[in-house]
């Protein structure tokens, strides 16, 4: 009896601890409960597997970019060996993040091949025309936007395509325009030769508005060695008709000549500006990308989930209703069938709920919708153990044993089948947790934790509570433990 009292105090202690934990360390809610966006980034590698180092490198670049973007409370984690998950809580638009993160942002400085001046001029002219078409297309009012208008653009586009000897493959007009512009930028880049100066030589990037017009430019600050390389390169082409091109991801974003006055020393000072008709947003995106450095491997955004905050709070409320009504249904059923024993199981279920939630905040487990369904489902499974025990107790009572004896041997005899029975569920949870996606992991974690805790609450807590109950004379009548109508047999 003494030992049981020790357990009782231990359980009360655990309960207090749980309440304390829950008050001081609130539960972490997943995005489907608090609202926000989640992006899954897939690292693309043509051959072989992504190594740990590569994953780390990509992770750190993305992390820098996210920080420089200034999104608040974002959370970046790796998933599997080749995916990253970025969570943006609240009403932050994933669009900007997706544009900044998706690019490799490999910055190169290239010098023009000799004897390509005429080719370059033609391409530059074509680029101006394409840009104009894009401009016209995007600024057109909806009312203006009819077949006539798009036919005009279509005709101009065809002309350029013929000159370039390249046919765009996109299905819609806007896509075609963008595709051709990219093609031209790539063709321009191909007229230039690589140098050993690249984005790796940068120590900072910034942006500012150009003085003459409303366009923005991006400022590059080189490291010491980068500054030297830059001076060397500019010196080599100063005063010639060769241009210096700044290439981003294989597309030329700006080409400039170096004046004769730099022929002796090159451009020194360790900085450069890129002015390529940037809008404020474009300049900021490029700035963030350059600050974070280029990605060692390209990535692709393969999944985006966005949940509004209102929907999130609705989801919490709905889950709460579901959990509470589930508990009530189960409670009524148990008390109806097992009377005092049922009441004991309800008490241990309540304990079970507290312990579970406390453990979530301790580990911590981020609570998501599938996670909550795992928790709610595990309520049913937690009761399962109690039912096994109570059935045994009933049998013992029918056999004419005393209450105390029946309870003891009921718990003892049910022990092994309970532990055994839960193993298969735990096996499934383990597999789900190891192989599943993020979404599925939440379910596996809560169900698995639930099954483990239920072993403690249904075996130990219910036994302790029951032992405590029967210290009262009035609660020691056998008929309180058997269904009313069946006491006769």
């Amino acid at each position: 009896m003494k030992r049981r009292q020790g357990w009782l105090f231990f359980i009360i202690f655990l309960l207090t601890l749980s309440v304390y934990l829950l008050i001081n360390y609130p539960l972490q809610l997943g995005l489907d409960l608090q609202g926000g966006s989640q992006l899954t980034l897939q690292i693309i590698k043509e051959e072989g597997k992504v190594t740990r180092d590569e994953l780390e490198a990509v992770n750190s670049v993305i992390d820098k970019r996210v920080n420089n973007l200034g999104v608040s409370e974002s959370n970046l984690q790796t998933l599997g060996g080749d995916q990253l998950i970025l969570e943006l809580p609240g009403e932050q638009n994933p669009l900007v993040a997706s544009r900044v993160l998706g690019k490799t942002a490999l910055l190169e400085f290239r010098t023009q091949k000799e004897g390509t001046s005429t080719e370059l001029k033609t391409l530059q002219l074509q680029r101006v025309m394409i840009k104009e078409l894009i401009e016209q297309y995007s600024s057109a009012e909806k009312s203006q936007y009819d077949d006539n208008f798009s036919n005009l653009i279509q005709d101009d586009l065809k002309e350029i395509e013929q000159e370039l000897n390249y046919l765009s493959t996109s299905n819609d007009l806007y896509g075609k325009l963008i595709e051709i512009k990219k093609y031209v930028d790539k063709e321009i880049a191909n007229l230039f030769i690589k140098t050993d100066l690249s984005g790796k030589d940068l120590i900072n990037a910034g942006r500012r508005q150009e003085q003459t017009n409303s366009n923005w430019e991006v400022l590059l600050t080189f490291s010491n060695s980068g500054g030297e390389k830059f001076a060397e390169i500019t010196k080599s082409i100063a005063g010639t008709n060769q241009l210096l091109a700044i290439i981003l991801d294989g597309e030329s974003i700006s080409e400039a000549s170096v004046g004769n006055q730099f022929a002796n020393t090159g451009i020194t000072g360790g900085s450069a500006t890129i002015s390529g008709n940037f809008s404020s947003e474009n300049a900021r995106e490029l700035e963030v990308q350059l600050k974070g450095g280029s990605l060692p491997l390209p990535i692709e955004i393969v999944e985006t989930n966005t949940i509004g905050a209102l929907l999130g709070s609705k989801n919490i409320l709905k889950s709460l209703y579901a959990a509470i009504s589930g508990l009530i249904f189960v409670g009524i059923f148990m008390i109806f069938n097992y009377r005092i024993l049922g009441f004991v199981s309800v008490l241990s279920l309540v304990l079970y709920g507290f312990f579970n939630l406390a453990l979530y905040s301790l580990i911590p487990v981020t609570l998501t919708l599938p996670g909550i369904s795992g928790l709610i489902l595990s309520i049913g499974m937690a009761v399962d153990a109690n039912i096994l025990i109570f059935e045994r107790i009933r049998e013992e009572l029918y056999d004419g044993n005393t209450l105390t004896r029946s309870i003891d041997s009921g718990f003892q005899r049910a022990n092994s089948s309970i532990v055994d029975g839960h193993i298969t569920t735990l096996l499934s949870c383990l597999v789900l947790f190891l192989l599943g996606t993020n979404f599925v992991k939440g379910f596996a974690a809560t169900l698995g934790i639930g099954v483990l805790i239920s072993l403690f609450t249904s075996l130990n807590c219910s036994k302790t509570i029951l032992r405590f109950f029967i210290t009262y004379q009035s609660l020691r009548q056998k008929n309180l433990y058997l269904p009313r109508n069946n006491f006769s047999n």
């Binding site: 819609d172 896509g175 509004g308 589930g326 599938p370 499934s428 789900l432 192989l435």
Partner: protein, 304 residues
């Protein structure tokens, strides 16, 4: 309260019933594979094939004005610059025109944002706080599918291994037979749901199958335990002892199923819509699982 299920008398009926259920399920799976537009054993949802799913509510004063989906699509086509996005689009109004739900093939975030903006112009204002948008690339979809299938196979293997170690060959065989019986029937029901109601399955469906597997074996293990115990300790014939064991564990098995069904029922009634089909397939699995544990698996153990 003693139960008296006449297992020995009804063996043929039970086995026959299960056979019919399995055949019906297989029929659904075959029909779905060869005779539907998607040509798959089950209607795979966007988790597995990629795509874009959007649900968003409109802000209305009292009642939301009525729009026909076709007229909205028509207008969308008029004002969208990127018409490509509108191929294969499905648009529905729900909840008295309040809720718009849209399915399209995979879109980029930018395209999806444009679509929402255009929608706002036509049926707006929209309540962006109620937005639920999922974009899944086709590559990820394929990966998720392989992932789910591997998870299922690995855990079925693990469970089979556990059962074979724990029981004699005969018991293990029948417990596994009952397990596959449950999984095939739930799978078949969803094949039929896909054919008739175009219900799609997502990764949560795979999760439910895994959970059902764990649960169904758990139930069977308890009954088989009881059979083993009774065969050792009680006199009486082999078949009679099996029947006795089933009747002794009947209450426990049905009660456990009921207490597990209650919470699931609560999720179906009160929970978020994204958990509806998940809870339903779990519930079906638990019902079929209890049936196979109580009636089918022990019947198979009976000697002629």
């Amino acid at each position: 309260m003693k139960y008296n299920l006449e297992l020995i008398k009804n063996k043929r009926k039970i086995v026959g019933f299960s056979t019919v259920l399995i055949l019906l399920s297989l029929l659904g799976i075959l029909y779905s594979t060869f005779n539907t537009s998607y040509k798959k054993p089950i209607n795979l949802g966007m988790d597995f094939v990629g795509g874009n799913e959007l649900r968003i509510e409109r802000v209305c004063d009292e009642e939301c004005s009525n729009f026909s989906p076709d007229s909205v699509l028509e207008k969308l086509k008029e004002i969208s610059k990127n018409k490509n996005v509108l191929n294969n689009i499905k648009l529905q109004f729900q909840n008295n025109n309040k809720l718009i739900s849209i399915r399209t093939p995979y879109l980029s975030i930018e395209e999806s944002n444009n679509l929402i903006n255009n929608l706002d112009n036509i049926v707006g204002p929209l309540n962006y706080e109620s937005k639920d948008s999922r974009l899944i690339g086709p590559k990820l979809g394929k990966r998720l599918l392989t992932n789910c299938v591997t998870s299922l196979l690995v855990s079925l293997f693990a469970i089979s291994l556990y059962i074979t170690i724990r029981f004699d060959k005969k018991y293990a065989l029948f417990a596994l037979l009952a397990l596959f019986h449950d999984l095939v029937i739930v799978f078949g029901i969803f094949s039929w749901l896909g054919i008739i109601l175009s219900v799609e399955v997502n990764s949560l469906f795979a999760v439910s199958l895994l959970t059902i597997a764990g649960y169904s074996v758990n139930d069977t293990v308890v009954i088989f335990d009881r059979i083993r115990e009774n065969l050792k300790s009680k006199k009486g014939g082999y078949n009679e002892n099996i029947q006795l064991s089933v009747n002794e564990s009947f209450r426990r098995t049905t009660f456990t199923s009921i207490t597990t069904l209650f919470p699931l029922l609560s999720i179906i009634l009160f929970g978020s819509y994204s958990l509806f089909w998940f809870s339903l397939s779990l519930s079906l699995g638990i019902i079929v699982g209890s049936y196979s544990s109580i009636l089918l698996a022990p019947s198979l153990l009976l000697k002629e």
